[in-house]
């Protein structure tokens, strides 16, 4: 390697020995966690990556925070409203589970360690979603409208709205498939069970649900939000 100026710059952003050791320790720790059925995870710096994987679950907190803050300007009240310090456990359509407790500013999260499966499978050229004991052909819906959603109540009476939506990223970049999966819980203000979901698409779906809560027809809201998303982020 040449000792030129640009390489000196790259050398300057190398991790220290202490950093390398700490990262390795964290990797080992998380590797062990992943082999246990469920782990309680407190919000510490080393676990931030796991919290990031909860992004869609927390999306509604952020969206709702925006709406709620407009009224009260106080995000803690939002937390109290949804969690009341006692926590909430939800099981999403694909089997992912999340438990949240908010005590003051400390968030404690217990999550299932692995991402649940896709609920969409290909069968004879059709896309079939398996949800709530049903198998539904969503090929036409995705082709014509670009989205599909299905609402149901689970055994604990939590309302779910499962979304399968054509994404703009395609498969060549970061999206796993050309469509994405997201389970929205309208009454709890949470989402999860996501696969291949980008920030932009999550915000479009979340925004449409907020529009619907404010009285707009959900299909019309989805159409508006998704068309903007596809136009802005499409290939």
């Amino acid at each position: 390697m040449k000792n030129n100026h640009i390489n000196q710059l790259f050398e300057a952003i190398s991790p220290t020995e202490n950093q390398k050791e700490n990262m390795w320790t964290a990797i080992e720790r998380q590797r062990l966690v992943a082999h246990e059925p469920s782990q309680e995870i407190h919000r510490r710096a080393s676990y931030r990556k796991i919290l990031i994987s909860l992004s869609a679950s927390l999306l509604i907190l952020l969206i709702s925070a925006t709406a709620y803050a407009a009224v009260s300007g106080d995000i803690e009240k939002l937390y109290d409203r949804y969690f009341n310090g006692k926590g909430q456990t939800v099981t999403f359509a694909n089997g992912d589970t999340s438990h949240y407790e908010i005590e003051g500013r400390n968030m404690k999260v217990t999550i299932s360690p692995h991402n649940g499966p896709w609920l969409v499978q290909k069968s004879w050229g059709r896309l079939i979603v398996s949800v709530n004991g049903e198998k539904i052909n969503i090929s036409e819906a995705l082709k014509k409208k670009g989205y599909f959603y299905y609402s149901y109540r689970d055994d604990t009476n939590i309302l779910h709205r499962l979304y399968i939506v054509r994404n703009a990223g395609g498969t060549k970049d970061y999206a796993e498939r050309w469509y994405s999966q997201m389970d929205w819980l309208p009454e709890l203000g949470m989402s999860g069970g996501v696969r291949g979901l980008s920030q932009e698409l999550a915000m479009a779906i979340g925004g449409a649900n907020l529009d619907a809560e404010e009285g707009k027809d959900l299909d019309a809201a989805l159409k508006d939000r998704l068309e903007k998303y596809w136009k802005e982020y499409g290939n």
Binding site: T16, K20, M23, W24, K49, R105, D173, Y174
Partner: protein, 155 residues
């Protein structure tokens, strides 16, 4: 795994830092990428294959991370996890900032070419781009660096 980590951790961290521009997110990203490798049970033909896989995975992870809503929204919610941007070692200070400010597509090409000493053809294969594109990006990156560094870089 220990060996793979030792062989590649510095390279992965540098790529992460170029994209994410802070040590906290870069450390998290390094952990995620190695956990992804563990989970994938990927086997490599040789260390070069291993290195190329890690470069692509790291780049994709960082791009994905930068697109994630968490990344973009957390800044607004300052009471949620901290947003740390420049708490890192001094390095070359202002000049380093100028390097980090370059568009990602130039930084990664410059890094692979100069620091990792890949050829244009090899970079094109790893990043799945045309050789002519890599050459153009390399030239553009050099020009930008020259402007930023006042002509201090060497070909």
């Amino acid at each position: 795994m220990d060996d793979i980590y030792k062989r590649n951790v510095e390279m992965i961290y540098r790529i992460c830092f170029m994209y994410l521009k802070n040590s906290t997110d870069s450390e998290d990203a390094v952990q995620s990428i190695f956990l992804k490798l563990l989970k994938s049970n990927t086997s490599f033909a040789d260390p070069e294959h291993e290195k190329a896989w890690l470069i692509v995975t790291t780049r994709n992870y960082c791009k994905d991370f930068l697109k994630s809503w968490w990344r973009t929204r957390k800044v607004e919610l300052t009471r949620l996890p901290e947003a740390v941007w420049r708490d890192d070692n001094d390095g070359s200070g202002e000049v380093l900032d100028q390097l980090l400010a370059l568009p990602d597509k130039y930084k990664i090409v410059l890094y692979l070419y100069y620091f990792e000493e890949y050829s244009v053809r090899e970079i094109a294969n790893i990043l799945i781009r045309k050789e002519s594109t890599i050459q153009t990006q390399l030239a553009k990156g050099r020009t930008l660096m020259k402007v930023s560094l006042g002509g201090h870089y060497e070909k």
